[in-house]
């Protein structure tokens, strides 16, 4: 078959479709019905008896007028920025460090150790850290005291709670990100490095011009995944602060959950879901434009 012919390119097209078809169908059949249900519910309102009736944009107006919604939105954004920045930076540093460990078995042991906290379920992580962060008896303040720093209130302080939650999130997530980035680093063919070294590049220059650009797809994936995870944060908050103190850690998902399952306002929950989706979609598009766009093809 000649490479330039149209039947060849058609075959390629069909192959591509064939490769993605199973998963595509899976999501359409299994998930898009629930997704559309959820979106449709945002245009309805719940009335006593838990029926839903069409209400146009009424529920949207109600949610947008709700102070608690805006508060949870702001809190979620603050949380996401801190958690994702810390996680991605740390994961990058750690994965590069691990990559440079010459002994493979030592590297693997260390990697597995970094990954260990991610084995803990989110609820358990919440409990563990709540205990650690206890203002009086937690290990955290005891350690701070050891180095002469003052005690903090962590999860119980309105100003510290979001950062404290971000710490917990980083602790749980960094292992995932390290794995992905390390895998990315290790899949960079040696040919690139050899060629660059021949050209005289070394040290930091090597990283900046060769490694990081080639790592961009994986970095982009990590960034997107971490943002999605951070914006959808729920379990940790649910198990520790429940949105406290006084709403300082109220997050979008908590707002959604309360409305869906405690207040039986599925309509408001659906609107919140739509917002979460739009926020993440916006970020996904942004990420695509800025990072994933630059892919190096040889």
């Amino acid at each position: 078959m000649k490479l330039g012919s149209t039947s060849y390119s058609r075959k390629l097209t069909l192959t591509g479709v064939f490769f993605i078809l199973p998963v595509f169908l899976y999501f359409i059949v299994l998930y898009w019905y629930p997704l559309i249900s959820a979106f449709v519910m945002s245009f309805q309102e719940t009335i006593p008896g838990l029926e839903l009736q069409f209400a146009g944009l009424k529920t949207y107006r109600e949610v947008l007028a709700d102070e608690d919604f805006w508060r949870s939105l702001v809190n979620t954004m603050l949380f996401a920025v801190q958690a994702v920045a810390a996680d991605v930076l740390l994961a990058l540093i750690i994965s590069i460090a691990l990559y440079n460990v010459p002994s493979a078995s030592f590297r693997n042991v260390l990697t597995l150790l970094f990954v260990l906290p991610t084995l803990v379920s989110l609820a358990a992580a919440g409990f563990i850290w709540e205990w650690l962060f206890h203002p009086r008896f937690g290990l955290a303040n005891q350690l701070l005291g050891l180095v002469g720093l003052p005690s903090l209130k962590f999860l119980q302080d309105e100003n510290q709670v979001i950062s404290s939650l971000a710490v917990i999130n980083v602790w749980v997530r960094v292992g995932f990100s390290v794995l992905i980035l390390l895998a990315g680093l290790q899949s960079i063919p040696d040919t690139y490095f050899d060629a660059a070294k021949v050209d005289g590049a070394k040290g930091l220059k090597l990283y900046w011009f060769i490694t990081l650009p080639l790592l961009l797809p994986h970095l982009g994936a990590v960034l997107l995944l971490e943002v999605i995870f951070a914006v959808k944060i729920f379990d940790i908050v649910y198990v520790t602060t429940q949105g406290g103190p006084a709403g300082a850690s109220d997050m979008l998902m908590l707002y959604l959950y309360n409305n869906a399952f405690r207040f039986y306002r599925i309509d408001k929950a659906a609107v919140t879901a739509v917002f979460i989706f739009l926020v993440l979609l916006a970020f996904g598009i942004l990420q695509r434009r800025l990072l994933a766009g630059r892919r190096y093809e040889l």
Binding site: P48, G49, R136, Q242, G244, F261, R262, Y264
Partner: protein
């Protein structure tokens, strides 16, 4: 390659094992007698080791009295976290359980999935239910469910050691909230920076606003306020009445002006357990927790103080056993028959609560030494014989109490004056209640 085969075999074995677990446990073969198997869902398993499993035994006992039916109850312990989602998804597809623990005003009122009680059982309930349990299981004046507990409303716990240290007599608890404030002032200790290290009164400030509202309720009630009127479907005039504003001013004042309560140190349960709180309000179950977790704390339990009137007993979690209306009529008939038997057998009920060491919901069995020997008994008996505080078992209860809790928190954190926060909360609640007109 060998590795791959090995792991492939391991994988297949795991899947088989898991699959077999699921495959087994199908329907029982229909026996000669009528077979009724009731699914019982409850999230209370972790609260008390004996209380829920008892129903499985009770079914067996019931069987021996009614050999014409093969009646059994299958216990399914549901986690508390997310139980609302689990229940509602099952009811949504019309596969709800036959018996389940839940707040009746939600499942009967909001979802309409509870079967009303037959008249004779309801009448007997009215007869034997203790005051604090009487409104549980009811919605709109109709009885649906069996209350679980009779003792879980707030009472006053005092730390004997700290009282003595402060020169107070542990046998003379404060009778009014004004008195309590004076006691609390003597019981509070501060560090050099002015922060509270020992709370005079341990106030609840952490967690979901619903819980915050729940814990502050006695204060509003003692000042003679009510949160809302379900008949009129409004909160304005109630939640922001002068009495309510006074109550919140006192409550927030504990933190802000009198400085006998702290939003810094810990939640009441933990604080009191560590011997760092003089006075605390908690339900009856806390006694057992203290005895297990903090055996060194010497404590006494008293009825709540009064102000303009008694605080009264109140509980915002009216847990009841409800009968689901999605099961077959035969199943329903026999389940109610079993409940009828339970209600009419004083011994069975006594066994239930004695073995669980839980304060009973029935007044005809409260004299058992298991209960009279509890530290909480005298206070409990006094309060049960006293005022029944207002209850808010309405479909939007959760939403409403969350708003009230947030208002209370705002006042506690000085984000607004009591009048301002209550005015706003009342307005927000009016909007919600208006939907039910």
């Amino acid at each position: 390659m060998r590795q791959k085969i090995k792991w492939g075999v391991v994988l297949v074995l795991f899947v088989l094992a898991g699959g077999l677990t699921f495959a087994g446990g199908g329907q029982e073969a229909v026996a000669a007698a009528e077979t009724v198997a009731i699914d019982f869902w409850t999230h209370w398993c972790s609260n008390n080791e004996y209380f829920e499993p008892f129903w499985v035994d009770a079914a067996v006992q019931f069987n021996s009295v009614h050999p014409e039916v093969k009646f059994s109850i299958n216990l399914n312990c549901v986690p508390y976290e997310g139980y609302e989602a689990k229940y509602s998804s099952a009811f949504d597809v019309k596969k709800g359980p036959g018996l389940y623990t839940g707040m009746t005003h939600v499942w009967a009122g909001q979802f309409g999935v509870a079967d009303p009680m037959p008249k004779d059982i309801a009448d007997k309930m009215d007869e034997v239910l203790i005051g604090s349990a009487a409104p549980f299981g009811m919605y709109n004046g109709v009885r649906y469910g069996l209350p679980l507990e009779g003792g879980n409303f707030m009472m006053m716990y005092i730390n004997v050691g700290l009282f003595k240290e402060a020169g107070l007599d542990p046998n003379k608890p404060p009778k009014t909230y004004t008195e309590m404030l004076e006691y609390a002032k003597k019981l509070t200790k501060y560090d050099s920076g002015g922060k509270i290290t020992q709370a005079g009164y341990a106030i609840r400030y952490k967690g979901h606003p619903f819980g915050i509202a729940d814990k502050s309720a006695p204060f509003y009630h003692a000042w003679g306020a009510e949160w809302l009127s379900w008949d009129e479907k409004k909160a304005s005039g109630y939640l922001n009445s002068p009495e309510a504003v006074d109550a919140l001013a006192y409550y927030a004042g504990l933190v802000q002006t009198a400085k006998v309560s702290s939003v810094d140190i810990d939640n009441p349960a933990g604080l009191f357990g560590q011997g760092l709180a003089g006075i605390m309000f908690r339900e009856s179950w806390y006694e057992a927790w203290l005895l297990a977790n903090a055996p060194d704390i010497d404590f006494k339990i008293y009825p709540l103080p009064s102000q303009k009137m008694e605080s009264g007993y109140t509980n915002n979690f009216p847990w009841a056993y409800n009968v689901g209306n999605q099961i077959s009529d035969t199943d329903k008939k026999w389940l109610w028959e079993m409940i009828r038997w339970y209600i009419n057998s004083q011994d069975v009920r006594k066994e239930h609560y004695v073995k669980s060491v839980m304060l009973p919901a029935y007044n005809d069995i409260i004299d058992d030494p298991t209960f009279t020997n509890m530290k909480v008994f005298d206070a409990w008996k006094t309060m049960v014989a006293g005022r029944a505080a207002p209850t808010y078992y309405i479909p939007p209860a959760h939403e409403v109490l969350t708003i009230i809790g947030q208002a209370t928190l705002d006042a506690m954190y000085a984000k607004g004056t009591p009048k301002a926060v209550l005015d706003k909360a009342a307005k927000d609640i009016d909007v919600i209640l208006a939907k039910y007109k």
